[in-house]
């Protein structure tokens, strides 16, 4: 057990400290260019100094976040100067980015070297318009005439300024706000403080050791909080962050080999993609030492394929909602588990990080017995204080327990405690009743995946949004079986009320920007069908 976490430095401050000891080591490799810790640190200081000179503090600053060098500099410098980093995603519809800007009260917008038309569109619809922060080399979006240069001689750093920069960020100040899609359609802002983030980094150190010889992947879009892990865990520990180009993110085999990557972090879907491309051969990635997976259920089948391709890598399954800062429970896979049966063939999510808590409870906050399923609640100093400026939604899911004087975050995930620790069973809102039977859609999906060998399955109860559903429909990626064959496979494996009434064979599946199956998009397909 590690010692209780005591806050000493914020994560961005720690990057400057690390940099000062590893000036010539590679900090970032992005767009085929390597940047040393010296360069990175100089640029971060320059931008932070710009914020200080212009008295920009405790302000929400958006980064139009394509994964280029400037975006990384900006994310770190914004947090370092006690401002709030709010990444936008060029892949989002312009309305969603605009909503995020509006909700987080964006005053400044930073963009990297290449600006796109979509940024012009965004600035056009924003009101009030943010001030655009640009590098003198940049061209400026045509729709904005309000800009500031940050890369000027006046903002050059000196020792005195550096001391000031390092003392700015305070533990209880918000470091970043990330937006998760709310069930109502309005995104919810999750503010994470410097203390939350520093605690997370302290906790993952118990199973992630890194030094200046290590090379870590960066595959997540910057609007996904797992990218915060990539940036800060890597750069706090003097390792190099290798940004996998967009083109290669779904199947980065060559990139991993070519750059001798040692630390991997992705959503489990990437394993499925790489399997499809036959990229997971015996000892394909001999240099990998640690592989982390997070963001969706990790199947035993996928882990086994991964083990074959990376025989020297530890494999760790991480679980955590954005509200609890990136990840809060973990499970270390052992190859001896191969013959064990896990619930639904899903790798457990294990135990909470030290000094964090994860409990399966009922609505009255009574702890469930072992092997009894219930909702997963989380507590600890990684927990956000609640949603950005929406106390009503906060009160619904951040529950204060008078007995223990603790705040519990109600995850909406179903889990149970087993001999391997916690097992994830699915989303509470994917639990439906079909002809009176309680059905977990995730269970139907994993069973059908198993019997058909399909990589992607997505199930819905019908009639849609009806409390008293009478059947199921599934979307399935499949090349082997006909609809009839699939039906007969399902009949053998599932009770009759879980056998799909309709099977939609699909060539392509929609995925969201985080690399997960885009359920709302599939739901829309069904809704359209029903209207017609």
């Amino acid at each position: 057990m590690t010692s209780p976490f005591k806050y000493s430095l914020s994560a961005p401050q720690q990057i400057l400290n690390t940099a000062s000891k590893h000036l010539n080591s590679c900090a970032l490799f992005v767009d085929q260019q390597a940047y040393t810790y010296q360069q990175l640190s100089d640029d971060i200081q320059q931008l932070a100094s710009f914020f200080i000179e212009n008295n920009i503090k405790e302000t929400s600053i958006a980064v139009y976040a394509t994964r280029n060098y400037e975006s990384y500099v900006a994310s770190i410098a914004i947090m370092l100067s006690s401002n709030r980093y709010v990444p936008l995603n060029p892949k989002f519809p312009v309305e969603k980015n605009a909503k995020i800007c509006q909700l987080s009260e964006i005053k400044y917008l930073f963009h990297g070297k290449h600006h796109s038309e979509s940024l012009d569109d965004l600035i056009t619809i924003l009101n009030p318009k943010p001030i655009i922060l640009k590098n003198f080399e940049n061209d400026t979006p045509s729709s904005s005439d309000n800009t500031m240069d940050w890369n000027k001689e006046a903002y050059k750093i000196d020792a005195k300024k550096l001391e000031k920069i390092k003392s700015l960020a305070q533990p209880d100040q918000i470091a970043y706000i990330l937006f998760t899609s709310g069930s109502t359609g309005t995104p919810k802002g999750v503010p994470i403080t410097h203390k939350n983030l520093a605690s997370y980094i302290h906790n993952v150190a118990s199973f992630t050791t890194l030094d200046h010889n290590d090379r870590c992947t960066q595959m997540f879009d910057l609007t996904f909080d797992l990218s915060i892990h990539d940036i800060f865990v890597t750069l706090n520990n003097s390792a190099s962050l290798y940004v996998v180009p967009d083109q290669s993110v779904t199947a980065p085999a060559k990139f991993i080999k070519e750059h001798k990557i040692t630390h991997w972090f992705s959503v489990p879907s990437v394993i499925s993609f790489m399997k499809t491309f036959k990229m997971l051969k015996e000892n394909s990635f001999p240099n990998l030492k640690l592989s982390l997976f997070c963001g969706e259920a990790l199947s035993v089948d996928n882990v086994k394929s991964w083990e074959i391709a990376c025989p020297h890598s530890e494999i760790i399954n991480i679980y955590g909602p954005t509200e609890a800062t990136i990840g809060i429970t973990y499970f270390k896979w052992e190859s001896s588990f191969n013959d064990l049966e896990f619930e639904k063939d899903i790798v457990p999510i294990g135990h909470a990080f030290s000094h964090q808590e994860a409990r399966v409870m009922d609505k009255a906050l009574n702890i469930q017995k072992e092997n009894e399923s219930g909702e997963l609640y989380l507590a600890g100093d990684q927990l956000s204080q609640g949603y950005w400026k929406s106390s009503e939604i906060t009160d619904q899911v951040f529950i204060h327990d008078k007995m223990t004087q603790k705040t519990w975050y109600k995850t909406g995930d179903i889990a149970k405690y087993t001999e391997y620790g916690l097992c994830y069973l699915g989303r509470l809102d994917s639990q439906v009743k079909i002809c009176g039977f309680r059905v977990e859609l995730g269970e139907v999906e994993s069973t059908i995946k198993k019997v058909s060998g399909a990589e992607f399955v997505c199930a819905f109860s019908t009639p849609l949004k009806d409390e008293n559903a009478t059947g199921l429909e599934i979307f399935i990626s499949n090349h082997e079986f006909s609809t009839l064959e699939l039906l007969s496979l399902c009949k053998k494996a599932l009770p009759s009320y879980m056998v799909p009434k309709k099977i939609h064979l699909r060539q392509a599946f929609p995925f969201n920007s985080n690399g997960k199956i885009d359920r709302p998009a599939l739901l829309k397909v069904l809704e359209k069908e029903y209207v017609n």
Binding site: P245, Q247, S248, V249, T250, A251, P252, A253, K254, F255, F273, T276, F277, K278, M279, K281, S284, S477, H479, Q507, A508, F509, P510, F511
Partner: protein, 82 residues
């Protein structure tokens, strides 16, 4: 007809409906144009496309030494697969 040109024809016939949907003619697509960047495929439908290409042509493609950028254009596919 050589294997390469048969392969090319099959390849183009698989791309054609997707290109049509975008209002593009297959013949207008340059050999070096990246099919994902053009919007003909997204990263996932591109995978599905590769699978159907394998089935149609009864071949098995080894991508383990290739980066997606090397086989995301018609030229790249022809070079690496035939």
């Amino acid at each position: 007809m050589s294997t390469e040109s048969t392969f090319k024809q099959k390849l183009l016939s698989l791309i054609e409906p997707k290109a049509d949907a975008l209002g593009l003619k297959v013949t207008e697509i340059d050999l070096d144009d990246n099919l994902v960047e053009l919007g003909i495929f997204d990263s996932v439908s591109f995978l599905e496309f590769i699978s159907s290409l394998e089935t149609e042509c009864d071949i098995e493609i080894d991508f383990s030494e290739l980066d997606p950028s090397e086989f995301s254009s018609i030229g790249g596919l022809l070079k690496n697969i035939t």
